[in-house]
């Protein structure tokens, strides 16, 4: 099976005037369909930079990036935009929703910029379906300011899903969430992954990384560890355990 994502010796040097920051120093890796990888590492180790490169938001300074067999170096700004629109779903480190725009409209956004024509009603149906996947169907008409952090994060995930991406990229999707909500989000990811979507997510938390299939650890812009997870956790099980524990706590209290 050919790789969905193939990085060959990727470097990214930020050159802002006098200081040059070498954020990513030679990363090579392959991702196959259906993989679920966590990227970990200390702050400043280049995780977000790598994610932005994977998300075609940023171009590597050197190295080759093949997405679905296509070398992105040969694509112009608009072609990259189309690629982001059709093949990639990105969940940003902040939620980055449009405020003063309902959850539903936020989820519809990528479809507005799709090259295929979609009727307004189809757009709405698809957006509603994606909100259902993340368990927010009832909140479609709410504005981001009316949603909790976890709910906003799930709207962002729904938005990333709406164009049926091949790869879902999430930069610290659980970073701002309490542990229970984080497990809920991981549940959504696991479900999507089981449906065949390739997922890459950044996390600082080791236990969150345990819900993934593969763990990549970065240090100073380099990959220092890349292992398959053996004792993978199931979000459903963990949630059940949590509920049980809560119930027990109430009983004893």
């Amino acid at each position: 099976m050919s790789a969905v994502v193939k990085l060959e010796d990727i470097h990214r040097i930020y050159d802002s005037g006098e200081v040059k920051v070498h954020a990513v120093r030679g990363v090579s890796l392959e991702l196959h369909k259906g993989e679920f990888m966590a990227v970990m590492g200390a702050s400043g180790s280049g995780k977000s930079t790598l994610m932005n490169t994977l998300g075609c938001l940023d171009r590597p300074t050197s190295g080759r990036y093949l997405l679905d067999g296509v070398d992105i170096a040969g694509l112009d700004r608009n072609e990259l935009a189309d690629l982001r629109n059709e093949k990639l779903g990105f969940v940003f480190q902040g939620f980055n929703l449009l405020s003063r725009t309902t959850a539903l409209e936020n989820v519809e956004l990528p479809m507005l910029y799709g090259r295929r024509r979609i009727s307004h009603r189809d757009m709405q149906e698809r957006a509603e379906h994606c909100l259902e996947i993340v368990g927010l169907a009832a909140r479609a008409d709410h504005f981001p300011s009316q949603l909790s952090g976890g709910q906003q994060q799930r709207v962002a995930i729904a938005r990333a899903l709406v164009n049926n991406p091949q790869v879902l990229l999430a930069d610290e999707p659980t970073g701002n969430l309490d542990s229970k909500t984080a497990v809920e989000v991981m549940g959504v990811f696991q479900k999507l992954n089981e449906q065949g979507i390739t997922i890459v997510m950044v996390t600082h938390e080791l236990d969150i990384a345990h819900y993934c299939r593969r763990n990549l650890i970065m240090r100073d812009g380099k990959v220092v560890s890349d292992v398959q997870v053996t004792d993978r956790l199931s979000a459903d099980d963990e949630l059940r355990k949590l509920h049980a524990a809560e119930a027990a706590a109430k009983l004893t209290a």
Binding site: T101, P110, Y113
Partner: protein, 404 residues
């Protein structure tokens, strides 16, 4: 992205901040409104001036006593005129391109009829006067050449006199007294209404100039002579001949003339030129405010682009092309300015209606001005929206997303 989605996105953005959208468009509203109102007022003035000049008559040349020097000041007042009846007769006799001549004297007098009193203007004119002025009668006839020669006690009266002094029944055949002398009314003039200056043009009595000079005001000199040329083509010729003739008779040379010959066309040109200048000036001032309005839009759009940098970043990140972002912001500013333009046009029409209602000034909404103002405001939106829109479209998605 298709046009409809762009419009949807733009309208959503504008609707989200109705007050700001209105304030942004306010500059355009005021600008366009001012242009429309000013041009309407200017045009109204012009149309009245034109109508009045047309009412001077056909192919008319006016010979005045006194001369207009370069500064526009007039030497030799109408009262102490320099034109004589003989001058008028000579013009009629010797200038072949002239078909009608009417010497004119003017005075004011108290007139009396049916025991009613009225103070009005007495015009002494020749028998050709109404033909030259193309002024129809509503009743009766004009006095004849014979009446002029015989210093007849006959008169033609304006509508105002007819209604004031002869409220019941026809005035024709009745007698009115001017300075205690009876004059028989032979005709009643058709109504003309108010002049631009607000004067009642129907408040007058016309008598033969001979009668006016000998029976009414004892004047010996003419105030002016109205001359009718045979056709528009002969006007210049007639004008030159009259000037030459009068110079010979008055023994004056160019530069020291004690008379002035003006053609209707010259008078019309001078008057409409003044009106045009006024319209132009008013329009220009209003146009400047339109540009100021445009700058206002640009200002707000720039603020809006900065404020919405993250939004732009999100749109770019999910696949918007730079062109679509540009289109979105351009659409917003065009929608704003066109909306402002439309409201401004309505406001301008309303304002000019109000002015004509309150001040009694005639106004004429110019369809050209409306169309031009509409497209101009759209253009303002496009021009002043272009830079902010372009700026937005060139943003880098990552930088835009990171923007705080």
């Amino acid at each position: 992205m298709r046009l409809r989605s762009t419009l949807t996105v733009s309208f959503r953005a504008l609707r989200r901040n109705v007050l700001r959208s209105l304030l942004t468009a306010l500059g355009i509203i005021v600008g366009v409104g001012a242009v429309i109102a000013m041009v309407s007022i200017g045009n109204g003035a012009k149309s009245v001036v034109e109508a009045q000049i047309a009412s001077l008559g056909e192919n008319v040349l006016l010979v005045f006593s006194g001369s207009f020097n370069q500064g526009g000041a007039r030497s030799g007042a109408f009262g102490a005129g320099t034109l004589t009846v003989e001058d008028a007769e000579a013009i009629k006799r010797e200038v072949t391109t002239v078909i009608g001549v009417s010497p004119e004297v003017r005075s004011s007098a108290q007139i009396l009829a049916n025991g009613l009193n009225w103070s009005t203007q007495i015009l002494g004119e020749g028998a050709d006067y109404l033909t030259i002025r193309v002024w129809p009668l509503s009743d009766g006839v004009m006095f004849s050449e014979a009446d002029v020669r015989s210093v007849g006690k006959v008169c033609v009266i304006g509508q105002t006199i007819a209604t004031q002094l002869f409220p019941d029944g026809s005035a024709v055949g009745q007698v009115l007294r001017i300075k205690a002398q009876p004059f028989k009314v032979v005709g009643v003039l058709a109504a003309k209404g108010l002049s631009v200056q607000g004067q009642d043009q129907d408040d007058l009595v016309i008598v033969p100039y001979t009668s006016a000079m000998r029976r009414v005001s004892k004047q010996t000199m003419l105030r002016s002579i109205s001359v009718q040329a045979s056709s528009p083509d002969t006007m210049t010729l007639a004008q030159n001949d009259i000037v030459a003739l009068l110079r010979q008779r008055h023994r004056t040379a160019e530069g020291s003339d004690d008379f002035t010959v003006r053609s209707q066309v010259e008078i019309a040109q001078a008057a409409t030129a003044t009106a045009d200048t006024m319209t132009g000036l008013l329009g220009a001032v209003a146009g400047v405010s339109l540009i100021v309005g445009g700058i206002g839009i640009m200002n707000i759009m720039l603020v809006s682009v900065t404020e919405r940098t993250r939004e732009i970043g999100i749109r770019l990140a999910v696949g918007a092309h730079g062109r679509e972002i540009q289109l979105q912001f351009l659409t917003e500013s065009i929608v704003l300015s066109v909306l402002g333009g439309t409201i401004g046009i309505l406001a301008g029409i309303g304002a000019s209606e109000l002015v004509s209602h309150l001040k009694g000034w005639p106004t004429l909404v110019s369809p050209t001005a409306v169309v031009v103002a509409f497209f101009f405001s759209a253009a303002v939106g496009m021009i002043f929206g272009y830079y902010p829109a372009r700026k937005a479209s060139l943003l880098d998605p990552i930088d835009a997303l990171r923007y705080e």
